[in-house]
């Protein structure tokens, strides 16, 4: 595997040499963004759920920006061949399809739809004296979810 004509840029086989200045800029940006995400995490806007969502989206947004910087400049994806770009976009995008699973976790609470929501006293199962063992009653209880 030897290669002696590096600077020749012929067609889509070329491998771009990323200039040092761009690498330095990227590195500085990454450090700044890291400081920003640490700083942003100290904010506490309020207890409402949408503040929490906002804060998380902000943190993830910064992380995605950093990731894009690393992929584009450090990994040189900006100058990669179209085929490599297809793998980058396809591969990094495909893992989000696994989040399809959230349809399950998001809608479990709605179930069962009718018939279950009768008066509160009978809505929850009664587990009286399964055995004399009090611990056995705890078997079914989920750790109290928020």
């Amino acid at each position: 595997m030897s290669h002696d004509h590096l600077e020749t840029h012929d067609g889509d086989y070329s491998h771009h040499v990323v200039p040092i200045s761009k690498l330095i800029t990227t590195f500085i940006l990454l450090i700044v963004l890291m400081a920003a995400t640490v700083f942003a995490s100290t904010w506490h806007l309020g207890d409402a759920w949408y503040f929490s969502v906002f804060a998380n989206l902000l943190a993830l947004g910064i992380a995605v920006t950093k990731a894009l910087l690393v992929i584009s400049y450090f990994m040189g994806a900006k100058w990669a061949s179209n085929l490599s770009k297809m793998f980058i976009i396809g591969g990094f995008g495909w893992f989000t399809t696994m989040y399809f699973m959230f349809l399950d976790y998001g809608t479990r609470q709605w179930e069962p739809i009718k018939g279950w929501e009768r008066d509160a006293s009978t809505a929850l199962p009664r587990f009286k004296d399964l055995d004399e063992n009090p611990e056995a009653q705890d078997v079914g209880q989920q750790p109290a979810s928020p």
Binding site: S2, S41, A63
Partner: protein, 224 residues
């Protein structure tokens, strides 16, 4: 046969592996192969991130309480170290492309040093967990009244699984980069004048960095 019109003679073997026609095909194949491998790595860590998301979503307030056990300063230090290592790796690729061997070696050395630094900080963190009995298992000990011990254990299970797997990748990276540096230093035929090995290993190392970029806010900061 009708569909075979003309034949081209095979290329000269030697510089190029025999299955390839020319150096461009070979280099392109290696780069595409590396990206395809990184896609599998994305899915590998992706499953863990998915598990994390599900449990975080289910136990958000508890996770927020538990994450105070992790020191964000050490996390930020490690992020800086890893970003610096990634930067020096990018420089190493740059110098490899320009065939500046000494500078390339210095950059590779810096990367390995940074990686060791990362592991040392990680080791400090983990030993603190060991002392506080925060390793999941029968000896797990949790005193905080506001969080059920089982959820705390779940958090630490995820923490050790994800940072542990990332740590394994760092160790692999150290080994691979060291081998590369030695080969470059010895002018081995496999790497002499060829920047592709450096570029491929660089891609891997940047991926390790990428994973940590997400792990840091998700475990050490947990915004609310």
């Amino acid at each position: 046969m009708a569909h075979v019109a003309k034949k081209i003679p095979l290329g000269e073997p030697g510089a190029v592996f025999e299955q390839y026609e020319d150096i461009h095909q070979q280099n392109d194949s290696y780069v595409v192969g590396m990206w395809a491998f990184l896609v599998t790595e994305v899915m590998f860590f992706g499953a863990l991130f998915l598990m994390y998301s599900i449990y975080r979503w289910k136990y958000q307030p508890y996770f927020w309480e538990v994450h105070h056990e992790l020191d964000w300063r050490l996390g930020a230090l490690n992020t800086t170290i890893l970003l610096a290592s990634s930067f020096s790796m990018a420089l190493a690729v740059h110098f490899a492309q320009r065939t500046q061997k000494t500078k390339q070696l210095m950059c590779l050395g810096t990367t390995v040093l940074c990686a060791f630094g990362f592991l040392v900080v990680k080791g400090i963190e983990w030993s603190a967990k060991w002392e506080h009995h925060h390793i999941p298992g029968p000896n797990f000990h949790w005193t905080e009244a506001t969080v059920p011990p089982n959820v705390a254990q779940l958090f630490f299970s995820l923490y050790f699984a994800m940072t542990g797997l990332h740590g394994v990748h760092v160790v692999v990276g150290i080994i691979v980069i060291s081998v590369l540096a030695i080969l470059v230093a010895k002018d081995n035929v496999m790497v002499k004048g060829d920047y592709i090995p450096t570029e491929l290993i660089g891609l891997y190392w940047h991926f390790v960095d990428l994973v940590w970029i997400f792990l840091f806010p998700l475990f050490y900061l947990i915004p609310r």
